[in-house]
Chain length 206, copies 2
């Protein structure tokens, strides 16, 4: 593409470095910013700079935090005996938004992927094991819930963490896989449907 100005070329190049944004979208965004009052692009650049410079991570669970220890880990009403292990920060937000979980989290920062050169030592697994051995406020961890993606990498990570935790005698569980609520049986892929039959839940009378 030939740009009429170096300034717009630079802006388009930088914006299109963002994931999922190509040159055409970047140009559209740049021209949009040009049409808006100057405050709009000032606020945008300020928010991004502040985010990049001001954000730190919780020392315990590695979630984004303004403080040394995040609001979840500090929460007075949180069940400190539960730790939910997730791949990355958006997963914490997703689980928090269900309002169905009241325990703590542990953000691995990825999953084991030999192809991408990510081994267990690149992830926050050692730090998880440390949390089990040395609970922060003295409350022991009774269960670790794995909420990892159901991909080969996610399963490998789950297997690795489970083995490490079993050595310590910690109870490990994983979130349920199955037909999504509202999902139709006939349109569900066979792996999910097959697994949902194997891991069926009893309507027990107890």
């Amino acid at each position: 593409m030939n740009f009429p100005s170096k300034l717009i070329e630079d802006a388009v190049n930088e914006i299109s470095r963002l994931p999922g944004i190509g040159k055409k979208t970047a140009l559209r965004l740049a021209l949009h910013l040009l049409k808006q009052p100057e405050a709009v692009s000032d606020n945008l650049t300020e928010a991004i700079s502040k985010l990049r410079k001001g954000t730190s991570y919780c020392h315990l669970c590695h979630n984004i935090s303004d403080q040394k220890i995040c609001s979840v880990c500090q929460g007075a009403r949180r069940d400190r005996s539960l730790i939910c292990v997730v791949e990355d920060i958006p997963d914490v937000l997703a689980i928090e938004n269900t309002s169905q979980y009241n325990g703590l989290y542990h953000v691995l920062g990825g999953v084991i992927s030999p192809i991408q050169g990510i081994g267990p030592e690149e992830l926050k697994i050692e730090s998880l094991l440390h949390r089990i051995d040395h609970p922060h406020a003295g409350d022991p961890v009774s269960e670790v819930i794995l909420a990892l993606p159901s991909t080969m990498e996610g399963d490998t990570t789950a297997f690795y963490i489970t083995r490490k935790l079993k050595e310590k005698g910690t109870k490990v569980s994983t979130i349920a896989r199955g037909i999504p609520i509202g999902g139709e049986l006939e349109y569900t892929d066979e792996v999910t449907l097959g697994r949902s039959i194997l891991t069926r839940v009893n309507y027990s009378a107890d």
Copy 2:
């Protein structure tokens, strides 16, 4: 959505103000920037700031320009007797990239849209008429080519400009509408197909 930090909440809010970017995409982009070296977000914010503060528009054609008069209007090899009227800046880039046009441009900055309250005086139509009456380098304009969107608003604008230019005796043409090259007849909408028959081009023997 509950955010673990005010900084990320602010960044997500500002990024999601951009057109076509929702909260989830904004969060993904913000987390992406956090994972990149600081230089990436610095370059991004700097390019946006510079763009917003440094960009000016060509005094003649209203295209983006670093200088008072843009490189197209200044171009020594440009045919100054042709002016192509477009809705907005990306249209100039699109036509330039075809390498099929060697004249000048005129960017209206929109099209007439009574519903959105955009009348002829909100657009650079007066400035176009001025260019016809007072050619910049003294070369008279022999033809104005309308390359406007084929929507009701685009057609209204084309009609308005045509009437104004006819009063001055300037030749007006419009870009051809028809089946795109490589397009299949049976999948073309009936309006385009109908128009392409009405405005058929003679394979003349001359």
